[in-house]
Amino acid sequence: MPPKPETLLQDKAGKQVLLLGNEAIARGVIEAGIGIVTTYPGTPASEIGDTVSKLASKAGIYMEYSVNEKVAVEVAAGAAVCGARALTAMKHVGLNVAADAVMTLAYIGVRGGYVIVTADDPECYSSQNEQDNRLYALLSNLPCLEPSNPQECKDMVRYAVQISEKLELPVLLRTVTRVSHTRGPVIYGSIDKPRLKGMLKRDVQRFVAVPRHARPMHDRLLEKVERAKEISESSPYNRVVRKADNGKIGIISSSAAYNYAVEATELLGLNVSLLKLGMSHPLPEGIITQFLEEHEKIIVVEELEPYLEVQVKALAKDCVPKVEIYGKMRGQYFLRSSEFSTRIVVEGLAKITGLKLPIDFISIEQKYEEVSQTLIRRSPVLCAGCPHRASFYVLKRATNGKALFPTDIGCYALGIAPPLSVGDLLICMGASIGTAGGVSKATEVDTIAIVGDSTFFHAGIPALVNAVYNNHKFTLVVVDNLTTAMTGNQPHPGTGKTGMGTHGKRVVIEEVARGCGVRFVKVINPFEVEEAIRAVKEALRTSGVSVVVFRAPCALLLVREKRRLGERLESCWITEACNNCMACIKLLGCPALVIKNGNVTINEALCTGCGLCAHVCPYKAIRLPE
């Protein structure tokens, strides 16, 4: 449920409200006088851009949903070198897409403050991997801030802008799911006027990264890192938050892991010092060295990669070689995969210190093991009325299930689950089209790439051009539900709506495909099942690359629109001709089709009346709404 976004514009310093970490970042944008925000949506970062989008015109901010993260960074960077204050938000894997721009932008620098938010996803709650983007800070030499809670999310935006303007360098703001998607109290600060306008004064040695300029740029960047170290040493976010009276054990932590570490020490009754690192690149070597000197044992508590641990150990080797350092290298006390919890930290600390566990986890697990025998997995499914269900049904019928289906990032990845079971290979945004080229070269099987509308624009087009140019042989099916559904129904070029809530120019997928040189392009509503099957069969018979666009709006959009109007969608209904053969359920797996007392029934609260079940029913026992 969306919060009332306009409250985020209130100029009421000192007011306390409950905000999601991502909403707090959006409030930080307002307070820090950021004039331009760009994003490509992705969990767990989406609410940053979405919240700003709702406020932008009122706040005097320019906001756009860019076509992908690289372009988002480029648009913002262009404004920031002119002196505008800018922020770009993306999920962790988005930074891979943007990395080409980010790495050299670090050389060039900015003039207005520029913040790049990367929201990492330990545990892969909604992602294809759980990479640790703090390593991008090391790779790019950009400063990196890591908030632990919503208040810090907000405050660190302004702080990042200050550092960015002081160093004339973009600053990374790295969250994780448990920071971006945690609500907590946030106290508002004052609001600066958004700074959007500026000018690019020609200075090719600074702004044009040709080799002759790039070499001195690299040296200037390394000088900036030295200055960033001084900032890190005196940063209010790098501080010893608790000091043990005996000087034996010190914990170093950051981000979400810090929260678990504090609570774990309280549960264990462990007398330790705590060093919290809110600015984790470059590290405050002086503060850390002193902390190492003051303790016999150091425990590094961090999620994912041993990012802090490696650097702390390197520092200790030079400065405090006798101190013992415990962490996750060589898998000793903590894991490098999955997210942490207070329990995981409690268990790690107990192992290191020899303390008794405060809670009998083993007996809890034993009891749980017994009672959970009756549990049944509840995996996410395509919604009732989802047009992707129709698309996958069509694809299975058209190919007798004998084709290979490279698929892509979006709701339609849920198509891999039975009974639809469509999808054989998934790597990253847009990869369905590139990999289809390789799969079709390496096999003799029909290859059908499946890509969503937003994903097609994001990274699909170069791969499509490649396939046409290199004469690949496969069919591309664009499942176009006219929205970026999985991340919260953001607009994209194919919708023609913009982040400012205005109408831009609609970019039409079939025109793009034809423009890329595809000869066979068809647009069909997948709920027109038989016609859609014929189109796919025809596409597969075509030589070279063929494109079929399955276009029907996301069911969530339909349902929400009706709900907004105070109406409801009429549902399908089952007649007496039903003999409970269960074909509808077995073929479609729609959540609105349920068995009650042995009979197939329709859950009217979920059914959108799409009629796909009526189409597949062998006894014509399901009727569409009047």
Partner: protein, 201 residues
């Protein structure tokens, strides 16, 4: 004040995020420190959804440790059981009686049977005897909208007096957070849940 741990469990689409936001907002209205954990994205598509609400001066982590829930508010019985390891013998389990069958069951991918409500309750008793079952679907229907089961259960929770939040504050947060034309039906749902638990005692 000792910290208060509340776990919400249910199915994507039942309104867990709204329930969590209402409870978190009410806590802030009371001047309390709070953390609310949420799950967005893929898990919301009819999957299992959990939210933690932790209230107290020293609370930092958004999620709780196994065996430390004060209350588990189950919007759906199977999902309540799935999270029962967060309960101890002191935990109150306040649960909807309406089981939502996972779609997979109908496909008979594996031969599994849906446990009955009685079986689920029996299994929860391995952890705690403090169980209140509410027919939130029926009460939500009575209120005028089956989608208000989440609010029925918040009303029921208020009546147990376990929460460190006043009932009036919860009603204020509901008014603040639900769309204007749905305030009335939600307050009706809240009161029906509240009265139901009060009448049990």
């Amino acid at each position: 004040m000792k910290s208060f741990n509340l776990l919400l469990a249910g199915v994507g689409g039942q309104g867990i995020l709204l329930a969590a936001e209402i409870l978190g907002t009410a806590a802030v209205y009371e001047g309390l420190n709070v953390r609310v954990s949420e799950v967005h994205g893929a898990a919301q598509r009819g999957g299992a959804v959990v939210s933690n609400i932790r209230i107290g001066k020293n609370v930092l982590a958004p999620t709780m440790v196994e065996g430390t829930a004060d209350v588990i508010l189950g919007l759906e019985p199977l999902e309540t059981l799935r999270n029962v390891k967060f309960a101890s013998e002191k935990t109150l389990v306040l649960m909807n009686s309406e089981v939502i069958t996972p779609t997979g069951i109908f496909l008979k991918i594996r031969e599994v049977n849906l446990p009955s409500l009685e079986t689920i309750i029996r299994n929860i008793r391995f952890f705690t005897d403090r169980i209140i079952v509410v027919d939130a679907l029926e009460l939500a229907r009575k209120a005028g909208n089956v989608l208000t089961q989440n609010i029925v259960l918040i009303g029921a929770l208020a009546a147990t007096e376990e929460l460190p939040i006043k009932t009036g504050t919860l009603e204020g947060a509901i008014k603040e957070l639900v769309p204007t034309n749905y305030i009335e039906v939600n307050l009706r749902a809240f009161n029906l849940g509240y009265d139901y638990v009060k009448s049990m005692r």
